[in-house]
């Protein structure tokens, strides 16, 4: 499910055709329409606005290059999001290199977290604009990517492991860590109440 911008219905075949013919005005229109989808993804996967814009522009370039392959206009939002996620992961891969020591530490810690769950009491209030992105950006790099891919974008641990070149156990460990850290941050900012952790064996 892709959250569509309010102006999405204004996207027409004419704009798409203009983009295919390198018409700058059409490209600008498409950019503005795709901006909310792309920016929300990129802000989650990067650590600051500069990186987010860089990843977003790289994504839009890919979109323009592959626009000729688009058959149905209805699939455009989902496709835009997919391309942006993939580009953001590529962006992450180019920056981050894993070492075996880090992986070993994760694997040994995994056994302690696999049956751990959190209990939350949510406060029904909307966060300030951009606040959620700030909290996500503060997470450690791989942990942030796993949280985004699994919890928000709906990928399985197997897919996450393949995308980030880590083991499935490591993916679960990072997800647990991400939830824990996010819960702490949300509690500190009064977005959730009574965060409690209990383990089942």
């Amino acid at each position: 499910m892709v959250f569509l911008p309010k102006t999405w219905h204004l996207i027409s075949e004419q704009i798409i055709e203009g983009c295919k013919q390198n018409d700058r005005k059409s490209q600008r229109l498409l950019y503005e329409f795709c901006f909310p989808i792309m920016m929300k993804v990129c802000k989650r996967y990067t650590i600051n606005e500069d990186e987010a814009v860089e990843a977003m522009n790289a994504s839009f370039l890919k979109i323009l290059k592959n626009l000729s392959g688009l058959r149905d206009l209805q699939t455009l939002p989902a496709w835009v999001k997919q391309v942006t996620v993939n580009t953001s992961i590529d962006f992450y891969r180019s920056k981050k290199k894993y070492n075996e020591r880090n992986r070993f530490t994760i694997d040994t810690e995994y056994s302690n977290v696999q049956n751990t769950h959190f209990n939350f009491d949510f406060v029904e209030s909307k966060m300030d604009s951009g606040q959620i992105f700030k909290l996500i950006q503060e997470l450690p790099e791989t942990t942030r990517e796993v949280l985004n891919l699994f919890a928000i974008d709906g990928y399985s641990h197997k897919e996450v492991a393949e995308m980030l070149d880590i083991s499935e156990e490591a993916s679960r460990w990072h997800l647990h860590k991400a939830r824990k850290l996010m819960a702490q941050k949300l509690e500190e900012n009064h977005y959730v109440l009574n965060t409690s952790r209990y383990e089942t064996k």
Binding site: H117, F120, G130, Q131, F150, I152, R179, A183
Partner: protein, 190 residues
Amino acid sequence: MKQNNHLFDDFLKGQVEEAEVTFKEEYWQKMESLLDQEEGKKSSPWWRKGLGIVLALLAIGTSALVYKKATQPNSQEQAIAVAQGQNLDSGLDTLQNSQAEDIPNKIHLSLKVKTQQKHHKKKLLFLLRCLRCRMQKMPMEIHQHLLHLSRLDYPKLKSQFLSNKSMIRLRMLQLTWRSRPIPKAGFNRM
């Protein structure tokens, strides 16, 4: 218990989807510069990048060919030289002068062009002086050829050319001009 985690994930997802992002003009400016760069790349395809190199190679090749052609005798002249070179083998036996023995067999003289210059005329004079010693009569065709080659010096040459020996002998003697030093005055009193 997993429900709690799912609830937490849904909470995060909802917050992300509802969050608002503000469009800034600078984002598009960066994108536009990126698009300009891409268009610049597109406008110079791979063959155009290599065009300069190809042209440079072509220019070098052409100049090398021109230089080679200028410094070497043409194919027609070469064919004549070879043909005459074959006759030279038989002609050598009949040559009685001792100077003819050290003449290289395959040197070709392009007198037609080079006699227009002074130093070549000197060489030609030396050649003709040598010829005077061993040629009694000169065939008309050689006579005309030499006239064509050195118009200015013709009266002088005419007095020195009295031989009518074969073309072979002339060509053989022509061969010496490259390898031999220019004779000083008095050397040619043979």
